[in-house]
């Protein structure tokens, strides 16, 4: 049973489109994240939510909007997709806030913008 699951796994879409990636965790964790792995392979945090409240919002274009309907879900919506948005997006969760908590990652969603 997958602990952190995200869909879709692969997504190819045209510039200008709007797309969403869904994420769910069944670990009972309070904190969820979105990370982006770009062409340089760094894993960079984009957002973090704790109990549905936004606690980290990095310098991400406002075309990216996370939504947490409950603490088990954190979806990522991207408006007006650009070529530079092509990357692997990882959803993750941890027991609580605080950077000493082990982070559990989903399998990633490969987004390609053409």
């Amino acid at each position: 049973d997958t602990a952190v699951s995200q869909t879709p796994k692969y997504l190819v879409t045209q510039m200008g489109n709007d797309k969403s990636i869904k994420c769910e965790q069944n670990l009972g964790h309070d904190t969820m994240y979105w990370y982006k792995q770009d062409s340089k392979k760094f894993l960079k945090i984009m957002f973090s939510y704790n109990n549905k409240e936004l606690i980290i919002n990095e310098t991400v274009p406002n075309r990216f909007s996370p939504k947490s309907p409950d603490k088990a879900h954190l979806n990522l919506h991207i408006n007006s997709l650009e070529l530079g948005d092509s990357a692997v997006y990882f959803c993750a969760s941890s027991q609580d806030v605080g950077s000493r908590n082990t982070i559990y990652f989903g399998e990633g969603s490969w987004l390609t913008v053409v």
Binding site: K40, K41, F42, L43, K44, I45, I56, S99, R100, F105
Partner: protein, 112 residues
């Protein structure tokens, strides 16, 4: 400006030998360090961590060494096995913050 650097994109080691993966950091406020392992088409998984109050932490075949004065840590895998072939991410955080900063990863190939 990357605060966690893994300068070797890849490393190739013979099965049974030691693998040493290196990581450097720039932020002196970091006090907790982690290694994650990632197989293709999977998400990273936690491997081992170390607090800045220690200089060594061991878990089976995996040992992490921390040199605070040099702002350097390393992961040793002994003996290396083909199943260890993966990308290894170094990560660091400051205890009071919410963010864990990751490096770009080192791809380890263990040859049988």
């Amino acid at each position: 400006d990357q605060q966690v650097k893994q300068n070797s994109p890849s490393l190739s080691v013979q099965e049974g030998r030691i693998s040493i993966l290196n990581c450097d950091y720039t932020n002196s406020m970091f006090d907790y360090f982690l290694w994650y392992k990632k197989y293709p088409a999977e998400g990273p998984t936690f491997l081992i961590s170390i607090s800045s109050i220690k200089d060594k932490n061991e878990d089976g075949r995996f040992t992490v060494f921390l040199n605070k004065s040099a702002k350097h840590l390393s992961l040793h895998i002994v003996p290396s096995q083909p199943g260890d072939s993966a990308v290894y991410f170094c990560a660091a955080s400051d205890g009071g913050g919410f963010k864990t900063i990751f490096g770009a990863g080192t791809r380890l190939f263990v040859k049988a």
